[in-house]
Structures are given as structure tokens and as C-alpha cells.
Symmetry: C2
Subunit: 163 residues, 2 copies
DNA sequence: CAAAATACGTTATAATGTAACATATTTGAA
DNA sequence: TTCAAATATGTTACATTATAACGTATTTTG
């Protein structure tokens, strides 16, 4: 058990993640737990190579595939999301913080990227998903997965800009 | 005037693009026209390096910045879109085919990516955009630009899969 | 325990994108 | 028209993101 130790809040979420994995019959190994921890501790979306640097505090020679494999696993389990516009990763608040005992399987997910402070907020708005499904249904397209990312200003940064 | 020559339909769209640029006070140079032509002739989203290969038919030593600069221009003018999930580019049907005499400025744009055939369909559905704006308004987030990409199966590919 | 499956280590390289500076072309004002 | 400024392109080098391929270790299961 190597393991950077994380803040208590993070450990709680990691324990949640571990339960979700167990429920799926998959394993949140030490390595995966550590990568997830690094994602969760970041205030903002983190790139794979930043995570790699973080890992190397523990495991000196770590190489890209180590991180990417862990990320692939976490994505599959729905424990993190990838922000495509940033090539970066965030924890899934829905799966990790919610009182959702059910699996972290694909859910409506939208991301609000503040260009002021860099913070990303996750929404789980069904209205958006339904609007998308409605719009696609009549042309016969079946949505399997959707990416919705909005760039703009969060309330705090907008106020600063207007001041 | 070097110039791969393109199909007639493409030339028509390129002429449309040229008019739109003129209306903006910007210039669709030969190079930019050629890159846009290559995007339009592709049946599917094209990567920057595929475009580079296309360019090299004409201009042997062409280098990445040449393509990326042209792409940046075309994106700014709203003549093409980037599909983030694919790191690839498509022509903007709204700007190039529509009878829209107005500028190719940011508009509602959603992309349906068929994982069967690779084709991408552009929607311009206001319902989706409004759902997004509604969902963000009450938390004080101001949307400046949005990326909506759905993966799934188009009607044709779904029928094949079900057969 | 042994075989199979799963996870991880390691090396090398592919694919995507940009910084920085030089040259050429176009525009616009004197 | 001519030259200065702005814009566009050429060129070299490199940064960033991601994966292929193969070997080893660990875990699971019969």
C-alpha cells in the first residue's frame, strides 16, 4: 500500500467509488484509487500528464500507459468524465457525491467550463438530454452517448468582469 | 493559382464561403479556399494531418502550421466546425449550403456522429440550445459557446444492425 | 495448486497541436 | 505610386496527448 494520502473528503469519495466498483464486480485497485484521488484533489480538470507527474511522487518510473489505463477504467466505471475541449479529466460528482447507490453508468452529463477561473461544473439536466433525443428521433438517429460542454463565465467571474 | 480542382458542388460552396468572407471584410485566400475545399470534399470529418497530406499534393513541403492556421481562420469565420471527440473538422452546412446570406457567426450547432458509418450530421436545434441556457441560467452561468456531440447510430446503420 | 484472466511495467512511437521567427504579399495612406 | 503597416504564409523546431506491443506480476477460479 503505497499511496499518497488524500484529504478526508477525498477518502470518503474514494470509499464510495470502491463500493460502486464492488457492486459492478470490478476492482478499484491501489493504482486506480490513487489516480482517482489525484483527479478528485485537483480543483480543476487535470490532464493525463499532470496525473502522471502526481503518480511519480510515489512510483518513480511511471509511464503514460499506466495513467491512461487507469483513466480508461475510471471512465468505463463512470467515476470520472473527460472534458473533450480540454483533454482533461474531472471526477463525476453524480457518482461520487450523490446518494446514488446505483451504478455510475452513463447518465445525462453536461459540463460548464468557466473561462475565467477554469472551474468546471457538472450538470445532470434531463431537459437537455431530452431536447437532444427529441431533435434526433425524427431523423432516426439513436443516441448512445452525448457530450455537452459549454464555455462561458460562472456567476463569480461574470461579476468580476462586470465590476 | 495552384489549386486542386474540386467538384462543382464544392466550388459552389466555396463561392458561398468567399461571399461570406467578403461580407465580413476577411479574405478567403487560395490557401484557405483549398483547405476548405479539402474539408468539403471529404465524406467524413477530416483530421488536420489528412488535410496536410491533401495539401502536399500541391505544395510539397507544406508543414502543420499551414493547415492549422487555415483551420483557425475557417473556424473563426464559422465556415467549418471542429468535432472535439474526433479531433477532426467538418464543413458548416448551415453557413455553406443554407440560403443564409448573413454571416457564419456562432449558431446553435449539434453534431450526430454515427459510429457505424462515421458520417456526421449537423443539427441547428434551438430547443437544445435553449434547454442548455435554461439549465445554466439559474446557477448564474453565462454560456458563450457550446459543444454538443452525440454518438450513436444513424437510421441506415441502425437498420443494418437490427436486420 | 495450476491455468486463465486481469492488471501492471516498460519501451517505443504515433497523432495532434503550437511557439517563434523569417519571408512574402496585400492594403492603405501620404 | 510608393512605402510603411498589416496581414498571410513559409520554415524549423518542439510540446502535448495518446496508443501499440510485448513482457511480468498478481489475482481469481476451477
Amino acid at each position: 500500500m503505497a499511496g499518497t494520502s488524500f484529504a478526508e473528503k477525498t477518502e470518503t469519495r474514494l470509499d464510495n467509488a470502491e463500493r460502486l466498483c464492488a457492486a459492478h464486480g470490478s476492482r478499484l485497485t491501489d493504482l486506480r484509487r490513487q489516480v482517482l484521488g489525484l483527479v478528485l484533489e485537483a480543483a480543476r480538470p487535470v490532464g493525463a500528464y499532470d496525473l502522471l507527474d502526481g503518480l511519480r511522487a510515489d512510483k518513480k518510473g511511471a509511464a503514460p500507459p499506466t495513467v491512461y489505463r487507469a483513466l480508461d477504467f475510471l471512465l468505463e466505471e463512470g467515476l470520472i468524465h473527460k472534458i473533450e475541449r480540454l483533454s482533461a479529466f474531472v471526477g463525476c460528482t453524480h457518482a461520487l457525491d450523490g446518494s446514488h447507490t446505483e451504478a455510475g453508468h452513463p447518465h445525462a452529463a453536461q459540463f460548464l467550463i468557466c473561462t475565467g477561473c477554469g472551474q468546471v461544473t457538472e450538470l445532470d439536466d434531463h431537459g437537455i438530454l431530452h431536447a437532444l433525443i427529441d431533435a434526433t428521433r425524427h431523423i432516426g438517429f439513436t443516441v448512445r452517448h452525448s457530450t455537452v460542454e459549454a464555455e462561458g463565465l460562472c456567476a463569480a467571474c461574470r461579476d468580476v468582469a462586470t465590476a
